[in-house]
């Protein structure tokens, strides 16, 4: 694959190295609040190449792309474009240098037309004042034709399918005559047919000299499309190889292969009394185009003191499993949930709390905490009704509960009166866990409990989770970090595209097996998985 025919004047060589280097960077480092997200990263991009960038969630791909596209001007290291050192201060700078990015979440204005979106902010003007609609439409048509996209430029974005919207994004990126195109997971929402069409267009662009950075989780796609592959892991550069020198297995090993985490597994891994039992859970979500299946046929049991891990890629339905059990997902739900053998109906988080369920959400700032409120108020919130006597709050009891959790979890704060938003990430996470432990739950659902937390605090959270399991709590854990999952979970349920793909025990689970099970399949073979 690495030896595709190359344009005339550069065809003396066989590899991409003979093409001009458009972008190179070295020594890129970046830290967020003391957590190192990128460490001394090295990356090169040649004209006309499709360079795939792969890595697990949190490996640093998005951070690197934010630096390349000028979103994040605050980093260490140097970037050269066309041999000249450059430092983007804004997205506009990057655009001027010919770098365009297509984000995973589409950034189109749904109520505007294709043309209006393509030229948003750069509308061709008449006499410098009025939008030249005719010229805009004509230019858009030319652009779409060039890409072989069959779309009416006057249609509204909201009426287009996601795949078509993706193509509009590409057209938009190219309208600024981008020479470097960054695509972040462009196929995550596309059907197989749309994927093929997109690949054709990408190849076309590359042969036209555009350099493309292609980020994807789907290794098969990368094998099919890329000229070279760079793997990032934990913010570090692992390998850069031409595709011919790689196999799917090699890429996966490079992505996940790292020494195991320091802690010794302390969980009893008991097959104790079953506390939570879920049967045939399914969830459909209403969209513009009718019902979309999010979960199907999810079943599992969690025993007293057991930690069940749920693994899968972003968007595989991991979080939705927890949300559906907790009654916080919006959509059509079905299935059976039993607690201590008794069937329960949970229609809202309130019901869930009453039945002794607790959920630590993925996004602690948006969903877990009241950042302006004190540690005490945050911890006491879910238990307020139980703490109150005859409708009056008992400030003393609230303080006692909060003090207890602060002590038990080792939350480092100046006191329970400290504002939660001023705590460090790890301590904020402990506050969220503490507010649920204060309700004396039977089952604890944890969604990405160590997201955005530095290594030391992670270790503390791990100890904490083990401790809770030893105390008899049934725990369901969702994590996109495989080492974490392998370390903590007694069993791992792997989901992909909303379907269960298998349950692994401690002995059978490994990062490679999980990655294989978690990889998305084409629609047609979904059925056989169950």
């Amino acid at each position: 694959m690495s030896s595709r025919p190359i344009d005339g004047d550069m065809s003396t060589g066989t590899g991409i190295h003979n093409r001009p280097l458009v972008l190179s960077c070295s020594g890129i480092s970046k830290s967020f609040l003391g957590v190192l997200a990128l460490r001394n990263v090295f990356f090169e991009l040649h004209a006309g190449e499709v360079h795939a960038l792969v890595g697990e969630n949190g490996a640093g791909k998005s951070t690197l792309m934010k630096i390349f596209s000028g979103v994040d001007p605050d980093y260490a290291g140097t970037i050269h474009i066309d041999g000249q050192e450059i430092r983007f201060a804004s997205v506009r700078d990057a655009e001027a240098a010919g770098v365009a990015i297509i984000h995973q979440e589409l950034n189109l204005v749904p109520e505007l037309t294709v043309t209006e979106n393509i030229f948003l902010g750069r509308e061709p003007l008449l006499a410098g004042l009025i939008v030249n609609r005719r010229k805009a439409a004509a230019d858009a048509r030319v652009l779409l034709n060039r890409l072989g996209i069959d779309l009416d430029p006057e249609t509204r974005i909201s009426t287009l399918r996601v795949g078509e919207q993706q193509l509009v994004e590409i057209a938009k990126a190219l309208s600024v005559s981008a020479r470097i195109l960054i695509m972040d997971e462009p196929t995550s929402a596309l059907s197989p047919a749309e994927c093929r069409r997109l690949f054709t267009i990408i190849r076309q662009l590359a042969s036209g000299g555009v350099a493309i950075i292609y980020i994807s989780h789907r290794i098969e796609e990368v094998m099919l499309l890329a000229d070279r592959v760079t793997v990032l892991r934990d913010g570090c550069h692992v390998i850069t190889e031409p595709i011919g020198a790689l196999t799917q297995e090699k890429i996966i090993t490079a992505m996940v292969g790292r020494e195991s985490l320091g802690t010794t597994p302390g969980s009893p891994g008991s097959g104790g009394r079953v506390v939570l039992s879920v049967r045939d859970l399914s969830l459909d979500v209403s969209t513009r185009r009718g019902w979309r299946t999010v979960l199907r046929g999810i079943s599992f049991d969690v025993g007293e003191g057991e930690i069940l891990g749920i693994g899968g890629l972003l968007g595989s339905g991991r979080t939705e499993i927890l949300e559906t059990i907790f009654g916080s997902s919006i959509g059509r739900r079905s299935g059976e949930i039993r607690l201590d053998g008794e069937a329960v109906s949970i229609a809202s988080p309130r019901d869930a709390r009453r039945h002794g369920l607790a959920m630590v959400t993925e996004d602690r700032k948006a969903q877990g905490l009241h950042l302006l409120a004190t540690v005490r108020d945050n911890i006491a919130l879910p238990s307020l009704g139980n703490i109150a006597r005859f409708g009056l709050r008992s400030f003393a009891s609230e303080a006692r509960v909060a003090e207890r959790e602060v002590k038990e979890l080792g939350i480092r704060c100046t006191g329970i009166g400290q504002i939660a938003g001023t705590l460090s990430g790890g301590n904020q996470q402990k506050v969220v866990i503490g507010k649920w432990l204060a309700t004396q739950p039977r089952v604890l659902l944890l969604d990405e409990p160590t997201r955005g937390i530095d290594v030391g605090a992670k270790q503390e959270i791990y100890e904490l989770i083990f401790g809770l399991a030893r105390g008899g709590l049934a725990i369901v854990l969702v994590s996109s970090e495989l080492p974490e999952l392998l370390l903590l979970a007694d069993r791992i349920l792997v989901v992909s595209e909303g379907w269960p793909r298998g349950v692994l025990s401690r002995d059978t689970a490994s990062e490679e097996v999980i990655m294989k099970l978690a990889a998305p399949r084409t629609r047609t073979d979904s059925a056989r998985a169950t």
């Binding site: 809202s348 988080p349 950042l371 302006l372 108020d377 307020l384 005859f390 938003g421 001023t422």
Partner: protein
């Protein structure tokens, strides 16, 4: 440093004191040399004048704390003033009686059921020990529905027994004081139910209610009744005058209602779980919902309370101006919102409180009073009021140090990200920033 912080935290009270001082120093004097502004009569007038706005602003505070808004309060007060005046003056099944009596019975029933459930629930729970053993969750005791239902029916029957005889003749002061707020409460509750069930913007829903309630007020009053006069002693009972009198000859009745409402609602917000939930919803609704709080119910109750207080304000309006009319509350919602915001409650919700609103209302009232004492042109008064609102809110939202440092660093290239003044005590300014970003996401 510490003094500055204290000053900054209590700036609202200093603002109130400042306005008071200005009023005192600039006040015209009588021929005998007495300060008019400081005279007892004048200060009572201020309290009387702010009471109606104050009651509305009290209800509005709860709504705004949940990050909502209630634009309908003016119109709800208008319809309630019509209902109140009609009940006082017209015997028989007038439209007002047909609206008010069932509303009263319904509200009496709901409140009685809620109280009964609350009592049963807490009695059942108080037998369980306070400290629950870990790993064991005590499920809430099953709700006994029969007893609350019976209590509710009794309450409804009592409400009807109380009001039906009055329908035949005319309503007394107790009658209107009970029935009118119930009408307002139902209007407020409808606002809340639509907002929660339809998942709609409070702005739109209450805007629609503002128009609708005004229409209903006009329909209720009838084509020829732009104003429904209430002459105590001739067409209404004389004891209604109690509501415009001074208690024990020293304190105006409307002021008592305002202060009582602010105290009670303030205590509810401070000392009950409900109050905590109001702040929690305003601070982060999603986190509140995921904490197992019945977000919908809390919101509906805040709107219902807002409507109820508008109803009480309407009764005081009728007493004070001796009339009920469909355009009674025009523009009142904006005065109330301004008072709440001056009082430091954030329109984004979750921050502020009734103490601030109380000050805001008084600042507003004293200001009008000072301007009136100086015989300033009423149009100019509006301009000045507008400027004062902006000025106060600016001082409220940006803390003093921040404003000063902005001025000081205006000339150089940029304002430092963290002014040195905040270095030692990050809590206030930092949490403000956090608040902003939390709402952005």
């Amino acid at each position: 440093m510490r003094v500055l912080r204290l000053l900054s935290r209590t700036k609202l009270y200093w603002g109130l004191a400042l306005i008071f001082l200005i009023g005192m120093l600039s006040s015209p004097v009588t021929s005998k040399g007495n300060n008019i502004f400081l005279s007892y009569g004048n200060l009572l007038d201020v309290l009387r004048q702010v009471s109606i706005t104050g009651l509305i602003a009290t209800g509005m505070t709860g709504v705004i704390l949940t990050a909502g808004i209630d634009l309908s309060v003016g119109s709800v007060m208008a319809i309630c003033s019509v209902v109140c005046a009609m009940l006082l003056t017209m015997p028989g099944w007038t439209p007002s009686a047909m609206m008010g009596v069932p509303a009263f019975a319904l509200v009496a029933m709901i409140v009685a059921v809620a109280l009964a459930q609350f009592t049963i629930h807490n009695l059942a729970r108080s037998t369980i020990s306070n400290e629950v053993a870990p790993g064991k969750t005590v499920l809430h005791p099953k709700r006994n529905l029969a007893l609350p239902a019976i209590v509710g029916l009794i309450a409804a029957a009592a409400a009807l027994a109380f009001t039906l005889p009055q329908v035949e003749s005319q309503f007394g002061v107790w009658g209107v004081l009970l029935v009118t707020p119930c009408v307002g409460l139902l209007f407020g509750a409808i606002n809340g139910i639509i907002i929660v069930a339809g998942r709609l913007q409070p702005f739109i829903v209450t805007l629609a209610m503002m128009v609708t309630a005004l229409g209903i007020a006009r329909l209720t009053a009838g084509q020829n009744n732009a104003v429904l006069p209430v002459y105590t002693g001739s067409n209404a009972t004389a004891d209604f005058d109690v509501l415009r009198s001074l208690i024990f000859g020293i304190f105006p009745m409307p002021g008592l209602f305002f202060i009582a409402a602010a105290l009670v609602y303030g205590a509810v917000l401070r000392f009950t779980p409900f109050g905590r939930y109001v702040y929690a919803i305003g601070g982060n609704e999603e986190a509140a919902r995921l904490s197992g709080i019945n977000v919908g119910r809390v919101k509906i109750v805040t709107y219902a309370i807002s409507g109820m207080l508008a109803g009480i304000a309407a009764v005081l309006f009728v007493a004070q101006y001796r009339q009920g009319k469909p355009d009674a509350g025009a523009g009142l919602e904006l005065d109330a919102i301004a008072a709440v915001v001056i009082g430091g409650t954030s329109l984004m919700g979750g921050r502020g409180g009734l103490a601030g609103t109380f000050c805001g209302v008084l600042i507003f009232g004293l200001l009008s009073n000072i301007l009136q004492l100086h015989n300033i042109n009423s149009n100019l008064q509006l301009v000045l009021k507008g400027l004062i609102i902006i000025g106060t809110v600016l001082v409220q939202e940006r803390n003093l140090g921040e404003l000063l440092s902005n001025l000081r660093f205006a000339a150089p290239r940029s304002v430092p990200k963290e002014p040195a003044a905040h270095h030692g005590q990050p809590s206030e300014s930092f949490s403000r920033q956090l608040g902003g970003s939390a709402h952005d996401t």
